[in-house]
Amino acid sequence: MSLYMLRRTGVYLFLSLAAFLSVFPFFWMAVGATNKSTEIITGKMTPGSNLVVNFQTLLSQVDLWRVFGNSFLIAIVSTILTLAVSSLAGYGFEIFRSRVRERIFQLLLLFLSIPFAALMVPLFVMISRAQLTNTFTAVILPTIASIFILFYFRQATKAFPSELRDAARVDGLKEWQIFLFVYMPTMRSTYAAATIIVFMNAWNNYLWPLIVLQTPENKTITLVISALTAAYTPDYGVILLTTVLATLPTLVIFFVLQRQFVQGMLGAVK
């Protein structure tokens, strides 16, 4: 019994430490948002009274609603389109047999290893030839065919029982109906997990929007944070407040989809 207690104590101590380490940055960010820049620099750890002032400073420098609107628009459209295209492709890759299928898939996985920086210049030339610079389309379009999400859906589809598909065929459903009415509802948790991943990537995307979005009214929240930190004497209170605001949407989405996310990671079909 005492050995058991000792072990439990050890486990809980370790977990508490781990929890502290992961929660502390959030705590510090939230506390910092309520303090003055000079207080943050001197290491003040308690909530202050400068939240309203920070907020007013932020509003005077940034058109917050517009910026959040831009970020949401890009993230939501990206998420819907990426899931639609990549899940369909992942499903297709797993379900329909063909001789070259594995070759193509390996080639796609190879593309995953090419860093984005290498693709940036040719991509920019393409986008500018299509006269799409400084549009949200230019930000969203290159992310839709996500090889990672395709891969993720293909792996998840391996667990999708072929009996279900056969039964649907016997019932007279067409292929697109099977995808829409059988596959998609079954794979709910996979979709939920992918939503979190894609939304987060789109929301946090920095480099490509930076290159392709040119005017201030098209800026996203990540670009705004970067611009705030660029000052020679950065106002850390305002910066931390903005990061708090920028973290909220992904946090909300994660908590809403948390159960499905964990399920999705474990495999959708039991």
């Binding site: 001197t42 000052a231 004497t233």
Partner: protein, 423 residues
């Protein structure tokens, strides 16, 4: 009926006014500017723009807040892709980064020395943006250095302001040891991942990490060796408080922990952000390196300048604007000094009232007059295109040197890393 006619006349009148306004707008130019600090260069540029628009109502300004990283990324990508849509007319670029752009993308920037007299500006600022005999920058803020120090700590240790005036680093180390012993305050604080301290000491002798364009100047560079030795001596005597980032760096002196800050003039705003320390600070010229030819008390850290892009459709307006405001208007420079603490590079600016004023925060010293005196004497160096790589190579060795590592070996390692990066 009459009412209808009146309504139509009014509509027509409004429409005509609209058309005439549109045609005026077509003849007018809107200059787009990219710069990055909402408390510093953005309001300074806005002020300059307002002055120009007052005299030339056709020319207006659209000033965008774009960070340094963003400017580098965007320019690099777009100039490489050969696509100019969306690029600004005027852009602010950090001085030690400009040669890379000038040499990698010839013809992308307008040579301003063709139309503006560059002898009006501090030499070393003009030299930083000169390539193949032409100068491309309208020099803006200077990073001219000074030794900011807490006179109350010095006094406590038995020193007067004269004791730190025009001294050498070795003398400063002696004073530092004394101050540490008597007051408990370390001399300076430093992030070992930032070589600002080293480049300030080195440039004060007119030397740089590179020479003759892009040849590494590491192993046989007596100024660099002396700088590293001085740094090592300070670190080994416990005079440096190591910090891990910019927040820590500014925190150590704003909180009163360390006694001195050798830094570019732009740190003034941060030092003055603590009103309760007013009167406790003073500024001396930077100490000189011991035993190095050409050692002076003047150096530089950071600073940026304005450039006109060759792709601009309003080049003439942009050049005329820089020429009439930034290269001539002494009064304008007084405004940005008072409001933004910006020390420009126009030498004539020092004759204005604001530059002559003394600052109660610094014991009523005429700090601005001093800085502009020093500004004119900063030795010019050639930053070349590999300064960022050289700085990384030096930073990699700083912790080792601080711990007492062999300096010749460190120089070899720096040289090797730099040459490898340059291939």
């Amino acid at each position: 009926m009459t009412r209808n006619v009146m309504r139509w006349t009014r509509t027509l009148a409004i429409a005509l006014t609209g058309i005439s306004m549109a045609s005026v707008a077509a003849a007018a130019a809107e200059l787009t500017v990219w710069c990055w600090d909402p408390n510093f260069n953005i309001p300074a540029m806005a002020d300059a723009g307002a002055r120009y628009t007052a005299a030339h109502p056709d020319t207006t300004f659209n000033i965008n807040n774009v960070s340094q990283d963003e400017i580098n990324q965007k320019l690099q990508t777009q100039l490489l892709a050969g696509v100019s849509d969306g690029l600004p007319d005027i852009v602010l670029i950090q001085d030690d980064n400009i040669q890379r752009f000038l040499q990698s993308f010839p013809g992308s920037f307008v040579p301003l020395s063709d139309s503006i007299d560059m002898s009006k500006f501090a030499d070393y600022k003009v030299a930083a943006a000169t390539y193949e005999g032409k100068s491309y920058s309208l020099p803006f803020d200077s990073g001219v250095t000074g030794l900011f120090y807490r006179s109350d700590y010095l006094e406590e240790a038995g020193y007067k302001p004269e004791d730190v005036q025009d001294i050498t680093w070795n003398r400063l180390i002696e004073i530092g040891k004394d101050v540490l012993e008597k007051t408990g305050h370390q001399l300076i604080d430093m992030d070992y991942n930032d070589d600002g301290q080293i480049i300030m000491m080195m440039q004060s002798t007119g030397q740089w990490y590179l020479k003759d364009g892009n040849e590494p100047n590491i192993i046989d560079n007596p100024a660099l060796k002396a700088s590293l030795e001085t740094f090592q001596a300070m670190a080994q005597s416990g005079l440096i408080k190591p910090v891990s980032d910019w927040t820590g760096y500014t925190g150590a002196f704003t909180s009163g922990e360390v006694a001195m800050v050798p830094q570019g003039v732009w740190i003034t705003g941060t030092i003055k952000s603590m009103p309760d320390q007013a009167g406790k600070w003073r500024v001396a010229p930077l100490p000189a390196l011991d035993g190095v030819d050409g050692a002076t008390h003047y150096s530089n850290n950071g600073g940026s300048s304005w450039y006109v892009l060759a792709s601009s459709e309003h080049q003439d307006e942009a050049i005329d604007f820089l020429k009439t405001v930034w290269a001539e208007d002494v009064d304008f420079y007084q405004g940005i000094l008072v409001n933004q603490g910006a020390v420009g590079s126009l030498l004539a600016a020092r004759d204005g009232d604001a530059y002559k004023a003394s600052d109660p925060f610094f014991n009523d010293e005429p700090v601005w007059q001093n800085f502009s005196d020093w500004l004119a004497q900063v030795p010019a160096v050639d930053y070349g295109t590999f300064t960022p790589e050289a700085r990384l190579a030096v930073r990699a060795q700083l912790p080792n040197i601080a711990n007492g590592g062999d300096i010749d070996q460190a120089l070899q390692a720096i040289d090797a890393q730099l040459r490898q990066q340059m291939q």
